[in-house]
């Protein structure tokens, strides 16, 4: 290659291109098909989207706003907001797509938008381009998504190991595991909506992710003094609507709470970390009946606000259902003690073994205190409604658990049948396993219909509990001593409910079986005992389906009487009771201070 005649003539060879057909794409008369994963304009599936705003968070251009859209109303697990993209900011990097927990957001093959109007670049994907649904190109399925859809597994005792003792089954997260799990959270806060207390979930998870466990504890204690209990046994409605759960396992909010609260090993540490501001005594006094979750919560926050709080507890130990209803392998005694002691340390007074109605009357309490909060819970079990129910060997689960938790011996033999499908039934079954019995659960409907937590059901199965679904008990068979020796049940099939409810079991005629048993434990529900309330007061309050009707600040028809927990809500779990207690705090404070003025 140099300056020679060949070099002069060589370029002229290029002229042969003249004969070739140009490779020009004759746009707009002829369109080049964009790639199947082209990153064009956004499309948002409005039905799928839950308005978590993660797209808006990840956008480094602050191009995405979450806005209210007509026709889309907030609901549980949906903020009602939808993203709007400012195409004057967007750079089509599709990070928003990669972090969308539901996969509703995607990019399309459309990309051309030309206009003279600079103000027309605000687009609400899905609203402005419904046709984008057919043109989706850059999507993020759970394989490609940047979010972590698998939960950090919780370490537990082996099933065979568990049944040997009442040692706590769940071992809790290590620091590293907790951080990793906390990092999965996208911080949207949708979960808080479903939490009865509205705990500050994203905040404390974020604090854990940042390595600030103490901040997490403080945030938890802001509206839940029984955080540790909730960390172990909460029914965690929050996880049901966790944004991550749309495509994967929800963030282990409960376990993270457990991790954080357990970082404070004893009550002094809790006090030191939480360091609550306790207002000086304001001279007012509140009486609380029942040291269950709702009563304790109300007591804690009232005490912090300077009230003189006295709790009247009929039993020897505080805690109510969390003390006596939950087996110790789920919630150890130490943990309860720690929480109670912490409360007592900030000035909550508890009168143990003081039964209202017997040792002291409600009217007396009213004399002594300006307001009274009732949180007695459901202690009286429903009867199972079978023949020979009163026979020896037929036990109520609540009584059974209470007895076991009070270190009393209950004779159940080696072959136990539990009737019911709720958490109490499972608890009773697992406790029976630990007492060495062979346990069968009879449940009317299918396994997936069981109201108990799936983790509990799995745990029970791991421990060797037989679950017999679609089995309707018919009668208890007693021996000559009047002792239950067998139970007769019939298999059932599921038939659709004519009213449109969930399918109902229907007995298959003739398909009856008998199981031999040494004890039958009934666990089909409880109710409250309102005998301590005098007729005069009873006539002023409204009791509906066994529950006292209260207003939004837990106030009953009698203005000084507040109620909470199982007797005031139909959710029957600790966190709802805590929520009631928390709300009652405000109601009581308002009531007393208003009265004063």
């Amino acid at each position: 290659m140099a300056f020679d005649i060949k070099g002069i003539l060589s370029p002229f060879k290029a002229l042969n291109q003249m004969g070739k057909h140009p490779h020009t794409v004759k746009f707009p008369y002829e369109e080049k098909v964009t790639a199947p994963r082209y990153r064009g304009l956004h499309f948002n599936d409005l039905e799928e989207c839950i308005g978590c705003g993660t797209c808006s968070t990840i956008c480094q251009n602050k191009a995405i706003d979450m806005i209210n859209i007509e026709g889309i109303d907030p609901s549980s697990g949906d903020t009602g907001l939808r993203p709007r993209v400012d195409n004057g900011r967007c750079c089509w990097c599709a990070l928003c797509v990669e972090v969308c927990p539901t996969g509703s957001l995607s990019l399309t093959t459309d990309y051309i938008y030309v206009t003279e109007d600079a103000d027309s670049f605000l687009w609400t994907p899905g609203v402005d381009n419904p046709e984008g649904k057919e043109k989706k190109s850059f999507v993020s399925d759970s394989e490609h998504s940047l979010l972590e859809y698998a939960r950090v597994p919780m370490r537990e005792l082996e099933g065979s190991e568990r049944v040997k003792s009442f040692a706590e089954v769940v071992l809790g997260y290590s620091e590293e595991e907790a951080r990793k799990e906390a990092e999965r959270c996208i911080g949207c806060g949708i979960c808080t909506d479903n939490c009865p207390v509205h705990m500050h979930i994203p905040e404390y998870i974020n604090a854990i992710a940042h390595g600030n466990d103490e901040d997490a504890i403080r945030i938890i204690y802001d509206n839940n003094p029984l955080g540790e209990t909730c960390g172990k046994v909460c029914t965690r409605r929050c996880e049901e609507i966790c944004a991550i759960s749309k495509r994967g396992e929800p963030v282990a909010i409960r376990w993270l709470k457990r991790y954080a609260t357990e970082r404070a090993a004893n009550e002094e540490m809790v006090k030191e970390i939480v360091n609550p501001t306790i207002l000086p005594p304001n001279g007012h006094s509140v009486g609380i009946i029942g040291a269950g979750p709702s009563g304790l919560t109300a007591a804690y926050y009232l005490a912090m606000r300077g009230f003189n709080v006295e709790i009247y507890e009929s039993k020897a130990h505080a805690g109510g259902m969390i003390m006596y209803g939950i087996p110790k392998y789920r919630l150890p005694l130490d943990s309860i003690d720690k929480q109670i002691e912490y409360m007592e340390s900030i000035g909550v007074k508890i009168h143990y073994n003081t039964m209202v109605g017997k040792d002291v009357t409600l009217e007396e309490l009213h004399q002594k205190h300006e307001a009274v909060f009732v949180g007695i819970g459901f202690e009286k079990p429903y009867s199972i409604g079978l023949t020979n129910e009163e026979a020896e060997g037929s036990i109520q689960a609540v009584n059974f658990l209470r007895a076991i938790n009070s270190d009393k011996h209950v004779e159940i033999g080696d072959k136990v049948v539990v009737i019911g499908g709720g958490n109490v039934a499972i608890d009773a079954a697992r406790v029976s396993r630990r007492l060495g019995a062979d346990v069968t659960i009879l449940y009317r409907r299918r396994v997936q219909d069981m109201p108990a937590d799936w983790e509990e059901i799995e745990g029970a199965e791991d421990e060797g509990v037989h679950i017999k679904p679609q089995a309707i008990p018919l009668e208890l068979i007693t021996n000559e001593n009047g002792r239950v020796v067998a139970i007769k049940y019939a298999n059932a099939e599921m038939v659709p409910d004519p009213k449109g409810g969930r399918p109902r079991p229907k007995i298959i005629e003739g398909d009856e079986h008998i199981i031999e048993t040494t004890a039958v434990i009934g666990a089909i529900g409880q109710e409250a005992d309102y005998s301590f309330i005098s007729e005069k007061i009873k006539s002023q309050i409204e009791i509906k389906r066994g529950r006292i009707v209260v207003n939004e600040s837990q106030q009953t028809g009698v203005e000084w009487l507040f109620a909470g927990g199982d007797i005031a809500n139909n959710r029957a779990d600790a966190i709802s009771a805590i929520a009631d207690g928390f709300r009652a705090t405000k109601g009581i404070e308002k009531f007393i201070l208003n009265k004063e003025n």
């Binding site: 308005g51 978590c52 705003g53 808006s56 968070t57 706003d65 979450m66 806005i67 209210n68 907030p74 903020t79 009602g80 907001l81 709007r84 400012d86 004057g88 600079a118 103000d119 605000l122 996208i186 911080g187 949207c188 806060g189 949708i190 808080t192 909506d193 509205h198 500050h200 994203p202 905040e203 404390y204 974020n206 604090a207 940042h210 901040d215 403080r218 945030i219 802001d222």
Partner: protein, 195 residues
């Protein structure tokens, strides 16, 4: 691994032998990291270039350690014969960052120093041409310093297209609906992407 890092170790020994106060480490293959006293950077680079044969200046970087009130200068030089890169770090006082120019070693240092002067306000004594390089008529603190808030500056100086005021905060929307009250201490964690 020790055998493989022979060259690196030789260089490390030589540097240690010549500059006793230097902290030398080998972060990985083909890298030797040196932390130096400020006044030693001049002789150190001269030593590297003239004695050890580090002819190629790869990079000069600057890191602002606002919390420690220091500005770190990172010199990365490479030896094309044994393919090792030496990362030399010095730390200057952030209040009055001054260091003699190094432009006699490599002519292109002039460019680096002009930029560092402009972006971090480091004064290279004897440089002679510390004029505007990238910016034009810049007033105020050097923009790459960490205490310069670019978001605030941009907001004050430029315009934003209106029409986005109806944006809602997701967390606030939820709290409004549920009645949750986020305490002050938690609010810092409500913001995603914390500082």
């Amino acid at each position: 691994m020790e055998v493989k890092l022979q060259v690196e170790n030789e260089i490390l020994d030589k540097i240690k032998h010549t500059f006793h106060s230097a902290e030398v480490s080998i972060p990985r293959k083909q890298r030797v990291e040196v932390k130096l006293r400020n006044d030693l950077i001049h002789p150190f680079l001269a030593y590297l270039k003239d004695t050890l044969g580090f002819k190629h200046l790869s990079h000069i970087s600057t890191v602002d350690w606002l919390e420690e009130n220091e500005i770190e200068l990172v010199y990365i030089v490479m030896n094309y014969d044994n393919l090792v890169e030496v990362i030399a770090k010095i730390r200057l006082d952030r209040e009055k960052p001054e260091i003699p120019t190094l432009r006699e070693f490599w002519p292109q240092i002039e460019t680096y120093e002009r930029e560092i002067h402009e972006m971090y306000g480091v004064n290279f004594l004897g440089h002679g041409n510390l004029t505007d390089f990238i910016l034009e008529d810049w007033e105020g603190i050097p923009p790459m310093r960490r205490d310069f808030d670019t978001v605030k500056y941009a907001k004050e100086t430029y315009f934003n297209r209106p029409g986005r005021e109806d944006a809602q905060d997701v967390r606030t929307t939820i709290t409004k609906k549920s009645g949750e009250e986020i305490p002050e201490l938690a609010k810092v964690y409500s913001v995603r992407h914390l500082e």
